[in-house]
């Protein structure tokens, strides 16, 4: 049975419509792009969490508690 290749990039919400530029990329290059997106996504999430934690260190503890409730409900 023939297998149908599913482009992993198509899973990305913003890329689901397979724009013209996406079809210009070879399968390997698409995979590399997808990996780059995942890496950057993880990096940004880590950076954001670290920055918030570090920022909270600069405010009084009572306010810190209140802010944590706002930031991480």
């Amino acid at each position: 049975m023939a297998t149908q290749r599913i482009d992993p990039l198509a899973k990305e919400p913003g890329l689901a419509d397979a724009p013209a530029w996406l079809t210009a990329l070879a399968p390997d290059d698409r995979a590399t792009l997808l990996a780059a997106i995942e890496t950057e996504r993880a990096r940004r999430a880590t950076e954001l969490r670290s920055a918030i934690d570090a920022a909270l260190e600069h405010v009084p503890w009572l306010l810190r508690v209140a802010l944590r409730k706002v930031l991480f409900p």
Binding site: E12, P13, G14, L15, P19, A20, W21, L22, A24, L25, A26, D28, D29, T32, L33, A36, I37, T39, E40, R41, R43, R44, A45, E47, L48, A51, I52, A54, A55, E57, H58, V59, L63, A66, L67, V70, L71, F72, P73
Partner: protein, 453 residues
């Protein structure tokens, strides 16, 4: 790599954390732009819920503390992301409390569209200060991104503050909005434009690519302005252009109709002069000047244009040279464009300097060769030489110089030299300076132009 693609690569590298993007070589500038837009949206949407809460939480703290924490702890990337979620007035208050180097870093990461109101509200002196930091860092891409969001007055102030014209060139090459780019070029003083182009030599010769990228985005008038300035510069500048064009596959050429192996332009002048004397009676019968405008155009199209001699001055190149009535520049572009594919056509650059001590910016065009029958073209006919500078983007950079026959005749009549003109012709092979001796040319210039009176 084209300028547009280079700019997109820089911007996309920032979105993807500065990694090598060699795997995206298959994408052109438009593809990279689309990808960047999509990725920016994807990555922003991922973090948006948390960023929104950060924006909300920031209002619980004093502005001064938020600015301090933002700069020292949060960093430029996160501040750039949060900015678009803040009320513009609050974001402006924060921005004004931050240092210029930090604002420069935020500028590099921010999406100008999300912060347009904030950017537009920042005082010009702060914009200038931040621009100075960006220039020091060589971050011209970021500066270009903000041109769209600054007022003409602020842009003017920034231009004034940038001492190095090459920096302005580099900024302009990355500006995406053609309208804004035209505004920017329009605000540049003539002398600064001249300095900018004059600097395109030696180690900075490759920046001709950026100048061409800018020229492509301009309208005919602005292109003509740049072209006229370039035409007046020293040959070294134009040689640098030729060298860059050859190195990067940019076609640069000017053909002069009637330029032949024996006498070049002088031969043309002589032929025209003889033609007039020999066919004076015919001139009256065939004079297009005696026709109504439509009829004149038909005569021009039917007789003169086909008669123009098309000659390639360099291997592998071919370009027709056409004449044009001053009101019909579009026709020349269309005709030239049709006959030189894939080279695109524009209207011209060519300068004829009357000896080194006396330059005449009006010079050119009259050296088109026409058949004797058309030598009686009416006296107010302006003529242009068609030339083309093409770029790697397949765009073209045409320079136009039209000649007023009366001025040309006047200048020639005042010539007292047997070597009145030096024709500088740009070809793919380099700058050819065709100098006399022209033994066949008359030393009485009036006679040479009797045909035109």
């Amino acid at each position: 790599m084209t300028m547009a693609r280079r700019g997109e690569v820089v911007k996309l590298e920032r979105v993807l954390g500065g990694k090598d993007l060699g795997y995206l070589d298959a994408l052109d500038a438009a593809g990279l732009h689309a990808l960047r837009e999509a990725l920016s949206a994807i990555l922003f949407d991922d973090a948006k819920p948390v960023l929104q809460r950060v924006a909300t939480a920031s209002k619980l703290l004093p502005v001064s503390l938020v600015a301090k924490v933002g700069e020292r702890v949060f960093g430029a990337t996160l501040c750039a992301q949060v900015t678009g979620l803040l009320a513009p007035s609050y974001a402006l208050d924060l921005a004004l409390r931050m240092s210029n180097p930090f604002l420069a870093s935020v500028s590099a990461m921010i999406d100008p569209r999300s912060a347009g109101k904030v950017v537009a509200a920042i005082p010009a002196d702060r914009i200038i200060a931040v621009a100075a930091v960006l220039i020091e860092r060589g971050d011209f891409v970021t500066m270009a991104r903000f041109v769209d969001y600054l007022s003409p007055a602020t842009i003017g102030a920034v231009i004034e503050s940038v001492a190095n014209e090459l920096h302005l060139l580099q900024i302009g090459a990355y500006v995406e909005s053609r309208t804004k780019l035209r505004e920017l070029i329009g605000q540049l003083a003539l002398e600064r434009t001249r300095k900018m182009l004059a600097a395109l030599r030696g180690p900075d010769a490759d920046r001709w690519l950026e100048a061409l990228a800018i020229a492509e985005a301009l309208d005919d008038e602005s292109r003509g302005k740049l072209g006229d300035i370039a035409a007046e510069l020293e040959p070294e500048v134009m040689r640098a252009l030729i060298a860059v064009a050859k190195r990067h596959g940019v076609g640069v050429r000017i053909d002069v109709c009637g330029c032949d192996e024996r006498g070049g332009q002088a031969e043309v002048l002589r032929a025209r002069s003889r033609g007039h004397r020999g066919h004076g009676g015919r001139g009256g019968r065939d004079a297009p000047g005696g026709l109504d405008p439509d009829g004149r155009e038909r005569v021009i199209s039917r007789e003169l244009v086909p008669a123009l001699h098309v000659r390639a001055l360099g291997p592998g190149d071919a370009l027709g040279v056409h004449h044009v009535h001053r009101t019909n520049a579009a026709q020349v572009r269309a005709t030239a464009g049709a006959c030189v594919s894939p080279i695109r056509a524009g209207l011209v650059r060519c300068r004829f300097a009357r000896r080194r001590s006396s330059r005449h910016p009006w010079g050119c065009g009259l050296l088109l060769r026409a058949t004797p029958r058309s030598s009686s073209l009416h006296r107010d006919m302006n003529i242009a030489i068609v030339a083309v500078l093409t770029s790697p983007d397949s765009g073209w950079f045409g320079l136009r110089m039209q000649v007023d026959l009366a001025s040309f005749r006047r200048a020639l009549h005042t010539s007292t030299s047997a070597r009145p003109f030096t024709a500088r012709v740009i070809t793919p092979a380099g700058v050819m300076v065709q100098e006399p001796p022209w033994p066949a040319i008359s030393t009485t210039p009036r006679a040479q132009f009797a045909f035109a009176t």
